[in-house]
């Protein structure tokens, strides 16, 4: 039944022309654990259209991976609370049963994982791992599926594809394995591709190759892509929009160029400043972010980032800022004292004055930056 709903839109004419490919509304994903409820994703909303790339940036524990898995319905059911709406071509798939999701996975949306070593089946030949979904979803016969697999491997830049089809994952290098997982993900022509840290396990030269490949495939197939990464450099040149996550929430979201030119959220600024830059002289002191990410079982009152923020004011510790939009520019942020505004400047000046006074009174070890 779900199959029918989805294939009707798969012909290229969505039921309602105004329908977005993906619309996530107030998605929550919590885990029940012995320590309490972990609020891994806590009220995330976003939209994405075909042909566009959304970069999701955050550190470990920010909820970026759980967000993509939750949208795709890849989480276990036990001890997971998943609320909100995930509209895919207008249909809310959050309540889909596993057998309904099976028609969505691979055919409509697909995912590439971080570690190509563990996401491939080590005891199955590469060819069969690719043809599996072709035979299931597209009802191809073996011969047709083999031919398609061959052209898929060639299109992701694997040399001698015919020979590779007969090989096992351990016979390939990390970069080649990631190309295979991309071929598998693309096999049934999904409209939405999740790439979860697709290049983190790879070397920098191979990373550039894989990112270029993804970008080219996305353009040719007019897919939407959600590129999840911890590296602002990876998404800067390759996304249309960026969502920065911190403590399970989107703290800033904007078109890529707007975000870098006019960032409002102190966390985004701090994240960018903490990266060593090639155009800085060696031994330039880095602006580290003090402290550590929030505990998602007992998130701090007020703003999640307040304990580490250099703009922090008493209000930040009491009231949580809403995700507010700058005019109607599509630039959203979650802060009471945004970067580059008079309020923000004032807050920063106040904190600096106070820090100066405190430093004069007590000399603190400069390296003692992490709180316990």
């Amino acid at each position: 039944m779900s199959r029918k709903v989805i294939t009707s839109s798969a012909t290229g004419t969505p039921a309602d022309p105004g329908t977005r490919l993906l619309r996530v509304v107030d998605l929550k994903t919590h885990f029940r654990t012995e320590r309490g409820t972990v609020r891994a994703v806590d009220g995330v909303s976003l939209t994405l259209d075909r042909g566009r790339t959304l970069g999701v940036v955050g550190e470990s524990g920010s909820g970026k991976t759980i967000l993509s898995r939750s949208i795709m319905g890849l989480l276990p059911r036990k001890n997971v609370i998943r609320e909100g709406h995930v509209f895919y071509e207008g249909n809310d798939i959050i309540g889909y049963r596993p057998e309904q999701m099976r028609e969505v996975w691979g055919a409509e949306m697909a995912m590439i994982f971080q570690d190509p070593m563990t996401s491939l089946n080590p005891v199955m030949k590469i060819g069969r791992q690719i043809t599996e979904s072709l035979i299931y979803h597209l009802k191809m016969d073996k011969k047709e599926a083999d031919e398609t697999a061959l052209s898929l491997l060639a299109s992701v830049g694997i040399p001698e594809p015919a020979q590779r089809l007969q090989e096992y994952p351990h016979q390939l290098s990390g970069g080649m394995r990631q190309r295979v997982t991309i071929a598998i993900a693309l096999a049934c022509g999904p409209k939405l591709l999740f790439a979860d840290e697709p290049t983190t396990a790879l070397d920098v030269t191979v990373q550039a190759q894989i990112l270029n490949l993804l970008q080219r495939q996305q353009r040719e197939r007019h897919m939407a892509m959600i590129l999840v990464t911890h590296d602002l450099g990876v998404v800067a040149g390759r996304s249309d929009e960026i969502a920065v996550m911190y403590g399970g929430k989107i703290v800033e979201r904007a078109p890529t160029r707007v975000l870098f030119a006019d960032m409002k959220m102190p966390y985004t600024e701090a994240l960018l400043n903490s990266i060593p830059k090639l155009d800085h002289r060696s031994h330039t002191r880095l602006e580290a972010i003090p402290g550590r990410p929030p505990d998602l079982v007992n998130p701090p009152k007020g703003c999640n980032f307040a304990p580490r923020c250099k703009y922090v004011q008493p209000r930040c510790l009491e009231e949580e800022p809403p995700l507010a939009e700058v005019g109607s520019t599509g630039h959203y942020y979650r802060c009471w004292f945004p970067v580059g505004t008079p309020e923000g400047q004032e807050a920063l000046a106040r904190n600096r004055a106070r820090a100066g006074a405190a430093a004069a009174a007590v000399t603190i070890s400069p390296t003692r930056t992490e709180e316990l």
């Binding site: 550190e59 470990s60 290098s173 990390g174 970069g175 080649m176 070397d203 920098v204 030269t205 191979v206 990373q207 550039a208 190759q209 990112l211 270029n212 970008q215 080219r216 911890h230 590296d231 602002l232 450099g233 990876v234 800067a236 040149g237 390759r238 890529t256 160029r257 975000l259 870098f260 701090a270 994240l271 960018l272 903490s274 990266i275 060593p276 830059k277 090639l278 155009d279 800085h280 002289r281 060696s282 031994h283 330039t284 002191r285 880095l286 602006e287 580290a288 972010i289 003090p290 550590r292 990410p293 070890s365 400069p366 390296t367 003692r368 930056t369 992490e370 316990l372």
Partner: protein
């Protein structure tokens, strides 16, 4: 690139640790084949200097760093520490030098024993070497933990109660208690988040000042290496490509491989266009059967016949700047793969040459 030679070495009495013609090979099962992990690499480090060793996985950078402190001993070559040849020392004599050479590993959590308390982990080197009374040991451990930013009150906890960044601080403290002269840091920040990575890099700089350390910093991230190093050596497939002061290396790479590495780094700036053609193609060849001549030639845009026959030696191209390449990049020249990018991309003074971020 990917050559040998010793032109870049400085006088022996001017260096703290000096490796000459290091060769490290590992047998491949019982096949008789060998992994040529490090092939004739010479490198030295002055007292108080930070040497950055950079390259992709499998280039031999970790093996080189380990061979420098005889863990394991190299198959051939010499390592001079304060003029003393470590490769000829007996086990006992080598052990006596060990406290002066310490190591910090990539994964801070797995390099700490989960069943031991932080105090015991940091105090163990002192106990092994019977340095001081228990009271003196306690004082020193507390001081060192304090220095790396771990409050001594929590030293009765075990590693799992700390975050990755804090575990790395504990590892740094453990390496410092014996008052070493040199620390080999093997990818010390690559398992950490960017915000914590900056904390640890700053910590290493502070500790270097405070304890008068010499560091060998091994990493695959060129921006990180640039930030901490006084001298950078780029490695490829068991050979050195280029040795230079960081600012010169990044502003004016002479080796095509260095240039390609720099090209590949994603820049956190959306106004810098991504050029899909400007990527180094192919992959690192097998170290079991490395290419003849220059080991980089199979991927090099400038390779010619000569590169397959003659292995390039390191030679000086500028003050303190050495390259192992028959056809090094001229000042202002960008390799063929990047030329398009330079033309299409950045504007302004000295486009590609002075814009190492591209």
């Amino acid at each position: 690139m990917a050559g040998s030679g010793t032109a870049h070495l400085r006088p022996v009495d001017d260096t703290l640790l000096r490796a000459e013609n290091l060769v490290v090979e590992f047998p491949v099962g019982s096949t008789g084949l060998k992994v040529h992990a490090v092939s004739d690499v010479s490198i030295d480090v002055r007292e108080g200097e930070t040497l950055g060793l950079v390259g992709e996985s499998g280039c031999g950078k970790s093996t080189t760093g380990r061979a420098m402190i005889q863990m394991p001993r190299p198959n051939s070559g010499h390592v001079l520490y304060r003029g003393k040849d470590l490769t000829t020392l007996t086990g006992r004599a080598l052990r006596a030098v060990r406290p002066e050479m310490q190591m910090i590993f990539q994964d801070p959590i797995s390099s700490l024993n989960p069943r031991r308390k932080v105090f015991d982990i940091v105090a163990e080197p002192l106990r092994i070497w019977k340095r001081g009374t228990p009271a003196e040991q306690r004082k020193l451990v507390h001081e060192t933990l304090e220095a790396v930013g771990i409050p001594p009150e929590v030293c009765d906890r075990r590693p799992h109660q700390f975050s990755g960044g804090q575990c790395q601080r504990i590892c740094v403290a453990r390496s410092l208690v014996l008052d070493p002269k040199i620390i080999i840091c093997d990818e010390p920040v690559s398992a950490l988040d960017v915000s914590v990575q900056a904390q640890i890099l700053n910590l290493l700089e502070d500790m270097k000042q405070r304890y008068g350390l010499t560091l060998v910093f091994i990493a695959h991230d060129l921006a990180v290496v640039k930030n901490v190093s006084d001298r950078v050596a780029v490695m490829y497939l068991g050979k050195l490509c280029e040795v230079a002061p960081p600012d010169a290396l990044y502003a004016q790479p002479a080796h095509p491989y260095t240039a390609a590495l720099l090209e590949s780094i994603p820049v956190p700036d959306p106004t810098v266009p991504v050029d899909e053609e400007a990527t180094l193609g192919g992959e690192i060849p097998s170290p079991v059967a490395p290419p003849s001549g220059c080991r980089f030639r199979t991927r090099c845009p400038k390779a010619r016949d000569m590169c397959a026959q003659v292995e390039p030696k390191l030679r000086q191209v500028d003050l303190g700047h050495y390259v192992a390449c028959h056809f090094p990049l001229e000042p202002g020249e960008t390799p063929a793969v990047t030329r398009l990018a330079a033309r299409a991309g950045t504007t302004g003074a000295g486009a590609a040459a002075s814009d190492p971020g591209r």
